[in-house]
């Protein structure tokens, strides 16, 4: 079994690496290979989930290369693996350009996710964690000829890495505190424990696109749909929440971290829900809702780990489904704009049906998955504080509203002349291939039934697996309430013909992107340029000033053994003056090569030092006598 665990991580990596570098030659075989590996990985995932092996090998002082499948992982790993398999199946049908690169990246990414999910020590976790970020960069920038896509990838990588710095901090704290094991972090001495908790929070929020990091997810939507479906719904962002779930003990141990996580999640659910409601672009809407739903996961990680895991899995299925549906339309109709997607559901019924299931689930309509899972999280929230609960409920209502809105758009009859709005992104093929349709079905099923994870009797099993004590008893009343809320919101959204008010701040993702630009990027670049200028001018000049000083000294020297006493008298002021304006001249001249400076200064020194050598013997005589006199003076004074 340990072999299976190693294979789980290594297999996709070694399969992906060659594909990645394979170039055009590998394009043909890439999809098939990728699918095969993904299938194998899925099987392995199920197997290890059952057997829960743990392996480790020496890595570095104070940290071992440890992998293990604990209860949480046993739930998440298979889910991720399966979703990945389905998404790859879809991608095989959709992706046309740079196939080997794409599939290679996907496989390496898969390996990284599984590594992250099974890591037991911080270095290993960080390893998978950062590779995920890099892969997301490469995948978002899949269409590398497009500057905006590349820039978007960069934003995603840098933003998430900014959060990752937290993990480095945590690692430092762990080592200073004596352990790098994830399990041991909760037991760190207080000071280091808080540092670790803060770092973990930062990392989790960054990856999970929680406030204030959410904006990168919006720009990430420039990537291909399968990427959005896997990275930005099921796998990568989910890992942010997953990390917090795994480190629930640490959060609890440090006290304050729990509140930060809970409120951060709840507020994200609320704010990004509003953002989603305001979007006019389907993928953007879905992205915002991803942040919002992950908000529940993070909230759950703080207050109800079991619920969080359940919600995470349910959301993975649901959101993958929705993204794939949106992707299908994008490739068929060439647009993502809601206004242009009117009736898309009727034009492609199966896709429409799948989308409907997903949207209803997103809205939290019973008995679909997210209804129950979200409710378990909310139950945990209510136990912590009513305010938290209310905020969560409001978020749920918003979810119902935007889900309903999307649903209403795609399901209503095809209006005439809608074609005019097609092909805004690319030239649509007008057909959805079977390969694209196929994966939707199992995902839809998953989105429909996974709610059982949050309902008795399974909920208790999940709770045991996650090891967060007994699951809070779910009250029927709340289930009904949230269900009614969802239905109400849905009906309102569907009934309301006009698009809801969309304030600018919401449409622009709370202006987070702009804020980051103004507050971080610009100043950094300005500072960099300033420093570069400083480096070219000031430092060199400082170096160049040295000859200037030496010049002064040498003038003094030359004066000293210069012929004639009268001159020697007037030397001192002259020396200082000349040295001064020498340095001044050095400054005036602006940027020059250091060596030319040195050379010139040296030559001046040379001239000065050569002045005594007048070639006239009698002047030599005078100097000799004077210097010998000076020598006697030295001897007399030195006694």
């Amino acid at each position: 079994m340990t072999v299976a665990l190693w294979a789980l991580v290594v297999l996709p990596a070694v399969a992906g690496g060659p594909l990645l570098l394979g170039g055009r030659r590998a394009d043909r075989v890439a999809p098939a290979l990728a699918l095969g590996v993904a299938a194998l990985v899925a099987a392995l995932a199920v197997a290890v989930a059952a057997a829960r092996p743990a392996v480790d090998a020496p890595m570095m002082a104070g940290a071992r290369w440890g992998l293990a499948v604990d209860g949480t992982a046993a739930l998440v790993v298979p889910a991720v693996a399966v979703v990945a398999l389905l998404v790859l199946g879809y991608a095989a049908a959709e992706i046309r350009s740079g196939r080997s690169r794409f599939h290679g990246l996907m496989l390496v990414f898969l390996a990284a996710v599984l590594l992250t999910a099974t890591a037991t020590t911080l270095p290993v976790l960080l390893l998978g964690w950062e590779v995920m970020g890099a892969m997301s960069y490469a995948l978002i920038a899949h269409h590398w000829r497009r500057d905006d896509a590349v820039a978007a990838g960069g934003t995603a990588f840098l933003t998430t890495r900014a959060g990752d710095l937290g993990l480095y901090l945590a690692a430092g704290a762990g080592l200073a505190g004596g352990t790098l094991d994830l399990a041991g972090l909760a037991g760190l001495p207080p000071g280091w424990r808080d540092v670790a908790a803060a770092g973990v929070l930062a990392a989790g929020f960054g990856k999970a696109a929680q406030l204030p990091f959410s904006f990168w997810l919006s720009r990430a939507m420039l990537g291909p749909s399968p990427v959005s479906a896997l990275l930005h719904s099921a796998a990568m962002v989910a890992m942010g929440g997953y990390l917090l779930v795994r480190l629930h003990p640490l959060l609890v141990a440090s006290g304050w971290a729990v509140d930060v996580a809970a409120w951060g999640g709840a507020l994200t659910a609320l704010a990004l829900g509003a953002v989603a409601l305001a979007q006019s672009d389907l993928k953007q809407l879905l992205a915002a809702s991803t942040s919002a739903q992950l908000g529940y996961v993070v909230l759950g990680a703080a207050v109800a780990p079991a619920g969080a895991v359940a919600h995470l899995i349910g959301h993975a299925a649901t959101k993958a489904l929705l993204f794939l549906a949106a992707g299908a339309w994008l490739s068929a109709l060439g647009t993502r704009r809601l206004s242009a997607l009117r009736g898309a559901g009727r034009r492609h019924p199966l896709v429409g049906a799948g989308f409907a299931v997903g949207a209803l689930g997103l809205a939290g309509v019973p008995p679909l998955a997210l209804w129950a899972t979200k409710d378990e999280v909310l139950a945990g929230a209510r136990e912590r504080s009513p305010a938290l609960y209310l905020v969560g409920l409001a978020g749920a209502l918003l979810a119902a509203l935007y889900a309903g809105r999307a649903l209403a758009v795609v399901l209503r009859p095809v209006p005439p002349g809608v074609e005019s709005g097609y092909d805004t992104e690319r030239d649509g093929t007008r057909v959805v291939t079977p390969g694209q349709r196929g994966p939707l079905v199992p995902l839809a099923v998953g989105a429909a039934v996974l709610g059982v994870l949050a309902l008795p009797p399974l909920s208790q099993a999940v709770a045991d697996a996650v090891g967060s004590g007994p699951a809070p008893p779910t009250r029927i009343a709340e289930l009904v309430l949230s269900g009614l809320l969802a239905v109400a919101g849905l009906t309102v959204a569907v009934a309301a013909p006009a698009r809801p008010p969309a304030p600018g701040w919401a449409r622009a993702w709370l202006g987070l992107d702009l804020a980051a630009r103004l507050l971080v990027v610009r100043p950094t670049l300005a500072l960099a340029r300033g420093l570069a200028r400083f480096d070219d001018r000031v430092l060199d000049r400082a170096v160049r000033a040295v000859p200037g000083a030496a010049l002064g000294a040498a003038r003094g020297l030359a004066r000293f053994d210069d012929a004639g006493l009268d001159r020697a008298v007037g030397a001192v002021p002259a020396v200082t003056r000349r040295a001064a304006d020498a340095v001044a001249r050095l400054d005036d001249h602006g940027v020059h090569a250091l060596v030319r400076r040195l050379a010139r200064a040296a030559r001046r020194l040379g001239v000065l030092a050569r002045r005594p050598q007048t070639g006239l013997v009698h002047q030599y005589y005078v100097q000799v006598v004077l210097m010998l006199g000076a020598a006697v003076l030295i001897l007399l004074l030195a006694r």
């Binding site: 012929a563 004639g564 006493l565 009698h618 002047q619 005078v622 006598v625 004077l626 006199g629 006697v632």
Partner: protein
């Protein structure tokens, strides 16, 4: 009596020394220098260094003769009899040399010279001879080497034509 002699000779020596650089003809300067040397020789005699005194006088007189001839041969103004003054940096030189004199004089007066050890030998000249033949033998041998070297070097520098030259043979670098 002796003191008087000393003072007289000293005055002569210094005065003629000054004269060397004040008289307006090189020939006279030469003779002034010779006079100064003679005076010094006299001073040595006062310290009953008979031998050394005589040697000094003879040497110097001879040299002065050579120098006189020499100037007749080479100087700008043959016989060096016409008035001339070839000075430079006079003020500087004066300042320096006066300074040096003050320092030396002050030193020679103020320095607490050690006390005399033992008395003079009965016959200083004899002592000198023994020293030359004895402890200072190496010095004398070296002096002979010096004289040899001087001959060679002076010949190399002074004689226009080497052993091999007929008048027409060209210089070779």
């Amino acid at each position: 009596m002796v003191v008087v002699a000393f003072v007289v000779l000293a005055l002569v020596a210094v005065a003629s020394g000054v004269a060397v650089f004040t008289v307006d003809s090189m020939a006279r300067a030469t003779f002034a220098l010779a006079l100064s040397f003679v005076a010094v020789g006299g001073e040595l005699l006062l310290l009953d260094l008979g031998y050394l005194g005589v040697v000094t006088v003879l040497m110097m007189v001879m040299e002065m003769a050579v120098m006189a001839v020499f100037m007749v041969m080479f100087m700008m103004n043959p016989a060096g009899l016409m008035p001339m003054s070839m000075l430079h940096n006079r003020r500087g030189a004066l300042a320096v040399s006066v300074g040096v004199f003050v320092v030396l004089a002050a030193g020679s007066v103020l320095v607490p010279w050690p006390t005399r050890r033992g008395g003079p030998p009965a016959d200083p000249t004899r002592a000198l001879g023994e020293a030359i033949m004895g402890s200072k033998m190496l010095v004398m041998m070296s002096i002979s080497a010096v004289l040899f070297a001087t001959m060679v070097a002076a010949l190399v520098l002074a004689t226009a034509r080497g052993r091999y030259d007929r008048a027409d043979s060209p210089e070779r670098p």
